[in-house]
Amino acid sequence: MAGIAEKPLTGNLRLDGEAPDIKEYEGRGGYEALRKALKTAPSEIQKEVKEANLRGRGGAGFNTGLKWSFVPMGEDAPRPKYLIANADEMEPGTFKDRLLLERNPHLVIEGMIIASFAIEADAAFVFLRWEYALAAKRMRKAIAEAYGKGYLGRDILGSGFGLEMRVHVSAGRYICGEETALLNALEGRRAIPRSKPPFPQTSGLWGMPTVVNNVETLSNVPPIISGGAEWYKGLSRSEDGGTKLYGVSGRVRRPGLWELPMGTSAREILEEHAGGMADGFRFRCLIPGGASTEFICEEGLDVKMDFDSVRKAGSRLGTGTMIVLDQSVCPVAALYNIERFFAQESCGWCTPCREGLPWVARLIKAIEDGAGEPGDIEVLLEHTDSLWMGKTYCALAPGAMEPLKSGLDIFREDFERHINEKGCPWKKDRRRRDA
């Protein structure tokens, strides 16, 4: 097993699945990055993280140091300021933050403390989905341990810097992962997104400067501080710094999650790490980074899985957790499943998303059930335009249109067959086999 030098996020995981307690974490160099950070100027930490080219692992890929740099600093800055770890992981097919929260909670916490120090935050929240009950338990225990050792609370390690931290357990809604919706949720309001600008860095939680970072993003901060930006960039096979937690689900031999150099190709992840397709299943295509990204087929598999390369290949890295569709899955049914999810999870605030997504879902369902009509594909295509970026309040509906747009292109024939044959060829096949 590669050590922490090559796998800073997972190199020290316990093999029994438990989370290391604070003693064990410290024994492997844990909280040394925090000690180092507290002797550095916050602006220097921001600079180091920016130079490391750590890009937001929630899916947007924005440079983390740059994101922090918009927070007003110094004595005249409005206080209190807030740092929030976005642990509301609910992007379909995504299961990476769960691993960090459950099995490396102190790394997440150390990253949060350093990030808070870098933006001079006074309080930090872990915004966690209810379903991650084990993560809640382990994070709360680890936070209590960190308080006990003086890594949290007033005057941390005699630095004069203080930070309070707690876990907020949400109650299940995909939109809460959108950072401004998350702020409304924390304030006890319906979690609808806010208009931007102003951005949270200047006007966030209760109108105060706030940074919201993904769990995996924050976990990368301690290694950057310990090893430096140059070392961190060297971990990667691309321009984006560091490693990435890549996952594969679906009919492959070994579904799972691996920390690999950023820029590892989709083919290597699929074939070497996930072991290729399971016996009896043939590859059709994959969704590279959670449900809200475009499909990649066989000819695109050599794409390097980093933000810019996947973008150039016509999709998005997203969360870096791939969903493999095999030939036994009807692509129309798969798209219905995806669009139904987005329709259900639309917060209902803006009309195109609230009305458009259920329309899209119903139409795909009709096609799947054999009630599709000529012209339906064109209506779906129209929606990929009318629910696109700039026409809705937040990125939920455009995210829902990404798989639909590429799906209508690469599965066009399948859609047409459903309409012409008045039913799902996959279902008919299954019925024939069963009979």
Binding site: W130, A171, G188, L257, I323
Partner: protein, 157 residues
């Protein structure tokens, strides 16, 4: 009526925030942990503790998938119905659950033991299909495994 214990817990949560309403979700969950769901009368009492109107708090409560505004069974089954679990055959598991429990999605068994609900991606896609019963995650489901899990929770089928 809120019990003293519930009231105390909610007051403690309120005390952690500068604004009372920030404790909305924690307060509703305090009630739900004890009663399984949140009825109108209790929601009204919680709302006045938070300085909110009934409708405001109901607006928050009904926004979430996991705050229940109608009665649920002793064990709430949350079955993931999202894409990775679909590829791995959650539909077979759903049909099996519906048959064994004699209910459809969204319903509660007559003996009040189980409520069956769909849930968006549970973030355990490498172990699909998955479901939760209460706060516990059950991965790698097969019809046989589902029967075992149901039995562990008091099912006598």
């Amino acid at each position: 009526m809120l019990s003293d214990e519930e009231r105390l817990e909610i007051e403690e949560e309120i005390g952690r925030y500068a604004q009372e309403r920030a404790a909305s979700v924690e307060a509703l969950m305090s009630v739900q942990r004890r009663r399984g769901w949140v009825d109108d009368e209790t929601l009204g009492e919680v709302a006045s503790m938070l300085g909110m109107s009934f409708d405001e708090l109901d607006g928050v409560a009904t926004f979430y998938n996991l705050i229940f505004r109608s009665p649920v069974g002793k064990n709430v089954i949350l079955l993931c119905d999202t894409i990775s679990c679909m590829v791995m055959g959650y539909e077979t598991i759903l049909a099996h659950l519906e048959e064994k429990l004699g209910i459809r999605l969204g319903q509660t068994t007559a003996d009040g033991l189980f409520t069956l609900l769909p849930v968006p991606c549970l973030g355990a896609c490498e172990r699909s299909p998955v479901m939760m019963v209460g706060e516990k995650l059950f991965p790698g489901l097969t019809p046989e495994r589902v029967d075992e899990i149901l039995r562990e929770h008091g099912w006598r089928g």
